[in-house]
Symmetry: C2
Subunit: 678 residues, 2 copies
Amino acid sequence: MATPEIEAKLAPLRAAVKEYGDLIRDLKAKGAPKIDIDKAVVELKARKRLLEDTEIALAPKEASFDRLKLEDLLKRRFFYDQSFAIYGGVTGLYDFGPMGCSLKANMLQEWRKHFILEEGMLEVDCTSLTPEPVLKASGHVDRFADWMVKDMKNGECFRADHLIKNSIEKLLNDKKTSAAVKQDGQDVLARLEGFDNKDMHEVITRFNFKSPITGNDLTEPIAFNLMFPTQIGPTGDFKAFLRPETAQGIFVNFKRLLEFNQGKLPFAAAQIGLGFRNEISPRQGLIRVREFTMCEIEHFVDPEDKSLAKFAKVADQKLVLFSACNQLDGAPAQEVAIGEAVAKKTVANETLGYYMARCHQFLMKVGIDGRRLRFRQHLSNEMAHYAQDCWDAEILTSYGWIECVGNADRACYDLQQHYKATNVKLVAEKKLPEPVDVNFVEAQANMALLGKSFKKDAKKIQTSLQQLTSEQVSALEEELLAKKLYNLSVDGQNYALTPEHLNIKKYTKKIHVQEITPSVIEPSYGIGRIMYALLEHSFRQREGDEQRTFLAFKPLVAPIKCSVLPISANDTLIPVMDAVKEELSRFEMSYKVDDSSGTIGRRYARTDEIGIPFGITVDFDSLKTTPFTVTIRHAETMSQIRLEVSELGRLISDLVAGRQQWSDAQAKYPKFEASATE
Amino acid sequence: MATPEIEAKLAPLRAAVKEYGDLIRDLKAKGAPKIDIDKAVVELKARKRLLEDTEIALAPKEASFDRLKLEDLLKRRFFYDQSFAIYGGVTGLYDFGPMGCSLKANMLQEWRKHFILEEGMLEVDCTSLTPEPVLKASGHVDRFADWMVKDMKNGECFRADHLIKNSIEKLLNDKKTSAAVKQDGQDVLARLEGFDNKDMHEVITRFNFKSPITGNDLTEPIAFNLMFPTQIGPTGDFKAFLRPETAQGIFVNFKRLLEFNQGKLPFAAAQIGLGFRNEISPRQGLIRVREFTMCEIEHFVDPEDKSLAKFAKVADQKLVLFSACNQLDGAPAQEVAIGEAVAKKTVANETLGYYMARCHQFLMKVGIDGRRLRFRQHLSNEMAHYAQDCWDAEILTSYGWIECVGNADRACYDLQQHYKATNVKLVAEKKLPEPVDVNFVEAQANMALLGKSFKKDAKKIQTSLQQLTSEQVSALEEELLAKKLYNLSVDGQNYALTPEHLNIKKYTKKIHVQEITPSVIEPSYGIGRIMYALLEHSFRQREGDEQRTFLAFKPLVAPIKCSVLPISANDTLIPVMDAVKEELSRFEMSYKVDDSSGTIGRRYARTDEIGIPFGITVDFDSLKTTPFTVTIRHAETMSQIRLEVSELGRLISDLVAGRQQWSDAQAKYPKFEASATE
């Protein structure tokens, strides 16, 4: 938390935010026109951003983090690097090398354990290839887009907001720019996040921005859909996309999953897999990429009861919450017990709160720094129109606060959309406390006449009529009786129905169960982003020797668990080396042998650099006993113990899984004293 | 192996194959025209196929395998099912449900352990999106295609060989078809596998085959590329494909991987990931799909020395080999020690032999039936032109012998292709026994004059000149001197070079290392196919009760490791249930609680059906001791032992990993005697 000196500097900025937060609340209370609220929100965001940038700038820096040094290490030891570099590379695509690959696999395995196994979730594995109608229903075909501008002459494309940002930054760095223009530019920068296409067009025109490459004029901002298009099969007319998220695969399997769960709510399904987004001009390394691994959970729950029995287990857990209210007030994020936040309705319900607490636990387990983690609530205008509440887990990196996990209550939007598109009911049955008589009103299509009037659209009209609720049918009947005409709207088209087109059927039925469309709580994890944040948070420099950098990974996620270092190249040590390797393999503990001729100290420096938590030294004392003994060095504390090779695999696997702590091992095994032979 | 009765029936078919095998050897020895050899090969394949079909038909059937029953189980318990079924489904795309997902994840984890961890391979994780030039260099843009025919009127597409097969089968089932036509049809069926587009066109024309849907005429067979096309970025002119294999990602990272391995050969890199093939009309369930998980290894080795020290460890291992020689002789596959097969040069080298042995071990570990596994060598005309030897691991299923793993020696084709395309040297350095003086001859481009003569192609010509070997430059020089003209061919285009266009530079250099392009041994695993074969091999019916089917998985791959069954719904058992669940989670052992009211026997039947190997029963005796005790039932032997809850996790994880056998556990813990309370 900030010092009093820093808070004093932030106070006027906090007040400036609060001024607009209050204004917006006031406008909303008065029912002011949307355009006025929107304008005030743009200003609010600008002030919030200034506050946040200042906060970050004033915060005490992590000792001496140097992004270039980290990037050099990641490239040199092949954690990851640009894809197809020998072909010139592709922006936004990265290949993971042995270290990155293993780190990622370990994070995914822990995710699977922490969520799927411990919570008893139903895992699915669906295809990346997704037919167009599925993504039409989910809204992605129409709305999953960014604004771009094109060079009028050569057609080169730029993401509109990036172009504005870069062009203004160039202006700001130009000595010839007048103070007034600089002020204007800074003002635009602060507001840019809230701009729509018209705002951006206005800025580009006013500043007379051109293509930074050719100097040519630019088009108005146009929407570019971020999905990768393809076709399935040879005809070319089966349009498909690469999925932009894994969630839709779960929704379209809802019926099978509900059945697998014997028809009972609540249950959670999860998926680990690839997502694809055709970013216009990706930058910022692993943070904005075109192909990425994500982990998504869809927790299906009765919309009228989002309580969760196991919430009690996490209720006392404290999280740093940056609520919408705090954001409007210009107040800092606050540490709050999640039970209290749910009780006060800051967080909408227990299920959502539970996943936020579990999210926090997961991020701590893999090694994210808790002081650089917060949960930020979406402001009402940031959320998708169907979402009821949304909290992003944001992690502070050298790029600022990065959204790494979304925790959203999506209500029943997706299941309803797929029902509308397919006419397959995606509902669960809820037992009523006692049976009730319900009056049904149904509109039954007269297909012969509908076919005559509307030809091939008749089927669509029938489906739409079937999907009407009893209330809607009653309204339709009333209008039909009054005007002898009813305009039915299907997919934006109007069909003039007359009384002959349908029969209204009314009946009463005793109902034991009620059909409900479940609500969905969706935690969605971007693994690449978490991994990048983890790399920043784990990066250290040795005190007194800043050239010696290393990665302090938790054993759980460390790409390689052990180094195995023979003290000498003498052949007599080979049987010990073989025994160690076999023992480690038996427990699936990865290891790296370094039998080069460097000193043990230099060799340990090399293994520290890639974050190997345990070092096993094989020396001539190893041979003195049957069975052989070896030394384990704990990289974090630099302390060592000695034990038999046959105990090695179990101990290290327990240490990695967290079933034992290093201090337990130290208590159990003799502390190692360097022998005379070394 | 076949009985004498069966062998007697097969003998004439074997002789018929051998007749053509001998003919082909003879033709090759005489240097006969390629067309004559090709014709003989088509006949050979037809005879081989008849032999194999008869062998399978005569072999004793697996008790009573019923594919429909298996498919029903897989669908009902959601192992996998068709993707997007509520949208009508997409052929060739499957979604894995909780059971299939876990089975697949366990197979992949074992693959990672068996290969990457135990062999110290370098794992990479590259993108599915692949730019066109990469796949142009690898040959996929030009050659990765199937033949299809189109309906002349509506454009509907059919895979040509499938259309011929189906049309002939229809003819054969038609009583009105004459005996002569039937004979002709059967003849075509037998030869179909070897047909090219002209052969297929001839058959379609001769039999007058039409579209099976509309009866319309069909086009000539045209090549359809099986890669899914897309574009990267917004301009639409950055063409890309979804990768058809993961291998290319490894090749383009060769330099980084070699560096990671400190410049030393041999080393192996591996990748687990998705592959995509836009099949024209996929059938046969998981065996032919459009999106699939594959595991590939590229073992880079000195082309002049493919021996492998650790080969000694597997030399005595016996494999069922179906060599090219046996295939030409009409002889059956033979069980041979891999050491003997390499010594006799049946298998080309130790490295390839080693991977075949390890492949066999992996398939056994996950539960493939060894009696239904063979390694079939490609005939020389089946192999890609660059491959030196190739052995497919084929598994016998109800669809016949299915290729599940390819083990190929690809020589240095891929690295050379990427070098040609990028001019980035993909070589390793090999230390010479002693330094040698080498004469170099280089052709240095005169860029000014080349630019004048060939404009923008000058750069391409320069690159091509740089890539010439010393021998090639000497030949060029000779021709230039003689004719004052040299026609250089680059990418199929000719450039007339005159002496002014280049300088020939000659020099001598002392060389300590030699640059070599490594050869590549590539084992490539289709996980979906292996999984399908495994499901068939694991499917059982209870003796005496054929309605009760179950899956006999090995604990290692079983989707769920334990069932947890409380003997009663009494609340007093809850603390024991909680203790059991926590203990299992601590060791990452998946479990399924069945607290329904059925009898224990009926509940076990349900868990047997999905292949759960261990059942934990919580009863009232559990409460009698502190700590609690429970019973474990071993599904395979139906035997039970009793132990404390705190010992449960470790025991089951040891049983799953194969560190302990059930018989060890039986010796250690008391045999369970049903208590009076049950």
